[in-house]
């Protein structure tokens, strides 16, 4: 049991509003860790603090024993911390192929190479093609991202995070907004993520959470409400109350 990602007394204030309240979280190596809680509980804010999209008001973020609180996002990615966004953050003008090639280039530290065209890095091209196939995107790899169906865009979200070969992958509601008939494709990809990658999943679908996760943290009003195994959380009447009260 070793923690790969930890937070210590993490705090985020937006003006007077406390979005993250003294959160000390520990994610074990190789875990399938779900983060649940009602809308507005501060789940996305927590992910933003972990990845450096937001700076915490106080508290620390530790990745594999290293304090990364003051590192910019791109350096956290290089250390193996990747994420997807609840609301798509893609490159609208790029094709999925270009986007994935970009992500692989950066992981391989090729991003500053300014002379050879993209096609002259055959290993990158092959890996990109394999990745696109794995994420069900090979038939649309040449389309503009802005023209892709929403489900495909969600898959590209995950492919881009996954291309970084992360040790820890943070998935912020990967199936959010995906129409029912495309949902299973997204969820199948989530389920099939390799076991050596630690996954932190934010998701509202309790069936998915209970079948996927081995550990669950419940966030309420910015604070860690409770934490436990799937069985413990499933049996906790207070958690049920929170969700029923929210009539989700």
């Amino acid at each position: 049991m070793s923690a790969v990602l930890q937070t210590r007394n993490l705090m985020k204030r937006f003006g007077g509003f406390v979005a993250t309240n003294d959160v000390s979280l520990s994610v074990e190596q190789g875990a399938r860790h779900a983060l649940i809680g009602p809308n507005g509980a501060g789940k996305t804010t927590l992910i933003n603090l972990l990845t450096g999209a937001l700076k915490p008001t106080s508290g620390r973020v530790i990745l594999q024993g290293e304090d990364i609180t003051d590192l910019p996002p791109h350096q956290r990615v290089r250390r193996g911390l990747a994420r997807t966004f609840q609301v798509n953050q893609l490159f609208p003008e790029f094709t999925p192929l270009e986007a994935v090639v970009l992500a692989i280039n950066e992981r391989e530290q090729l991003g500053a190479s300014a002379w050879k065209p993209l096609v002259r890095y055959p290993q990158v091209v092959d890996e990109a093609a394999a990745l696109l196939e794995r994420f069900g995107l090979s038939d649309v790899m040449g389309e503009r991202t802005s023209r892709l169906p929403y489900g495909k865009q969600r898959l590209l979200e995950m492919a881009l995070a996954f291309a970084a070969k992360p040790r820890v992958l943070l998935l912020d509601e990967p199936a959010a907004g995906v129409p029912e008939e495309e949902r299973h494709e997204v969820l199948a990809i989530v389920r099939a993520l390799p076991s050596d990658v630690t996954v932190v999943l934010i998701e509202h679908d309790m069936d998915l959470v209970f079948s996927f996760a081995d550990r669950i943290s419940v966030l309420v009003s910015g604070a860690l409400f409770t934490e436990g195994t799937v069985a413990e959380i499933a049996a906790d009447p207070r958690v049920k109350a929170i969700y029923l009260g929210e009539d989700a």
Binding site: H74, W115, V119, L132, M141
Partner: protein, 356 residues
Amino acid sequence: MTVIGETTAAVSSTGPEHVAATQLRRRNAWRAYEIVLWLVAIALIFMLPSKALLLTEIAILALFAVSLDLVLGYAGIVSLGHGAFFGLGAYVAGLFAMHFFPEPVTGLLVAGLVSGLLGFVTSFLVLRGSDLTRLMTTLGIALMLAELANQMAWLTGGADGLSGFTVGPILGLFEFDLWGRTGYIYSLVVLFLATWAARRIVNSPFGLSLKAVQGNRVRAAMVGVPAKSRIVVIYTIAAVYAGFAGALLTQTTSFVSPDVLAFHRSADVLLVLVLGGVGYLYGGIIGAIIFTLLRDWFSVITPQYWMFWIGLVLVIIVMVGRENITRWHTFLPAPIQRALARAANWRPGPKIGGGQ
């Protein structure tokens, strides 16, 4: 065995790696419009020898605008002071020829180097702040440099400009002639090589990362792109290019006017880029052609008021919309659009299915 081998080959030639490689290869293939443009530019050496001076002017402006496109279209920085690098290059080329060595290619490289140095140093200022801050920073740097050149009359000749130097034969072989033919060929060769190099740069992993930062800065950071250091590099390269353009002006005219650092240079080149379109390199070249021809045409019909007409064109373009500026062809009837796109984007190599 043969059958299996063939089957494998057939599968792999349509497999995703193959499709991916084909798409990426086509991405940087030369388009028909590029090839036509360069062929016409070469043909003009012979077809319009009497217009060599005008053509030289266009080539120099085009190089300057390509440089600004690297800043605006690839680094995302709106600069109102790009003339600083142009003017510095112009002065350095003049001073270098006067005090050190008259061979122009050497002078060109030195001018590019010095401008690049200024670009590198000032890029850190330009990284800060919003678009408006950047606009003011770039403008401020250019104004300071212009004033500096004016004050240091002992070096720059002040308001009289820098003259009395001779530019030697190119590489010791080709003398500049009175009709400007050598000057045009020289400028065209430099423009071509610079555009060719820029093309490689923007089609490389580095260029892709610049476009990514433009497209979505948040996501670019989250795939590991260090936006700031990439912007420093492209800004520096752009400054080198502007320095080349300034040096070309000095070398083809054997004179440096203080006008090379004047504000209107920075404004003109922005206008050129708006005319030609931002973010695809050739906008600078096409814009330079349109701008110079428009200016000549307006100044013949209304010698006093040509700035008015240029201004009007600018206002119309801006009113039509920033996105539409680069997509002016979308106003044409659909069949013409399709035909144009097909012709302009024609590239050698097999067709790939899917998109249009």
